[in-house]
Amino acid sequence: MLPLSLLKTAQGHPMLVELKNGETYNGHLVNCDTWMNIHLREVICTSKDGDKFWRMPECYIRGNTIKYLRVPDEVIDKVQEETSKSRSDRRPPGVGRGRGRGDIGAKPGGRGIGRGQDDGGSKGGGGRGRGGIGGKGGIKGGGRGRG
């Protein structure tokens, strides 16, 4: 399970966020993104020493200033439900997995990056992810190979 999917699942839940500077923010998570930037509502901010408090209706915290997040225990069970659901939706792994990325330009026979590579020829086909649609040239973006 990914930390960020747990965080996403925690949307709407109360949480505690401690920043690298020691301040803590208690509030309800409204939204978050892949950088761990978070948007809280109904926030109480506590100074590092715990001696000063500020209430604010909402705040936005840049992800890289966070030290840790404390999340209600029950959230982890909700993530598992979601991942198992999406897992069953997914096609079984195995043949034809991998992705490729086509050349951005108009070079013929766009080449995949990483695992999925084109079959080298002008013929499309093969289960592996291929880059660009073989040889057709000019097709922008990547073939997401999933056989």
Binding site: M1, L2, P3, L4, S5, L6, L7, K20, M36, G63, N64, I66, K67, Y68, L69, R70, V71, P72, D73, V75, I76, G114, R115
Partner: protein, 141 residues
């Protein structure tokens, strides 16, 4: 190609011990992690180390001290250091390692210094209340 992640797959669902950049020691079950070593710790607790002493027999101390005072007045001598440290031993005890329950935590990778596997059997044998150690200092960048 091997993944560029932190390689913690083998520790998932096991108890791990994390030492953070601010010198805390957090122990919990690893539920997940990502490329940036952000970590999900479930049922976690913090182990707080300290070398402080706490009073355990508060009621004894005044009696002991007043007896010593009277004794020293009678003998016209100062209370010895030896006696005072004995008093401390009787009335005080070091705190040992305190455990704070934290629950479900997401620790940001930036803040993680060390991730260690915990030998549960060995860990269960530890008598934390009798362990004493200085707390770790924070990492200085």
């Amino acid at each position: 190609m091997a993944s560029a992640g932190p390689g913690l797959e083998s520790l998932v669902d096991q108890i791990i011990s994390v030492i953070t950049n601010d010198g805390r020691n957090i122990v919990g079950t690893l539920r997940g992690f990502d490329q940036a070593t952000n970590i999900i710790l479930d049922e976690s607790h913090e182990r707080v180390y300290s070398t402080r002493y706490v009073l355990i027999n508060c009621d004894l101390l005044p009696g002991l001290l007043s007896n010593a005072l009277i004794g020293s007045l009678v003998q016209n001598s100062a209370i010895s250091n030896k006696f005072l440290s004995w008093c401390l031993k009787v009335c005080c005890q070091h705190e040992g390692v305190q455990q704070l329950v934290l629950g479900l935590y997401i620790i940001r990778g930036d803040n993680i210094s060390v991730v260690g596997e915990v030998d549960e059997e060995l860990d269960a044998r530890l008598d934390l209340s009798n362990l004493r150690a200085h707390p770790l200092k924070p990492v200085i960048h």
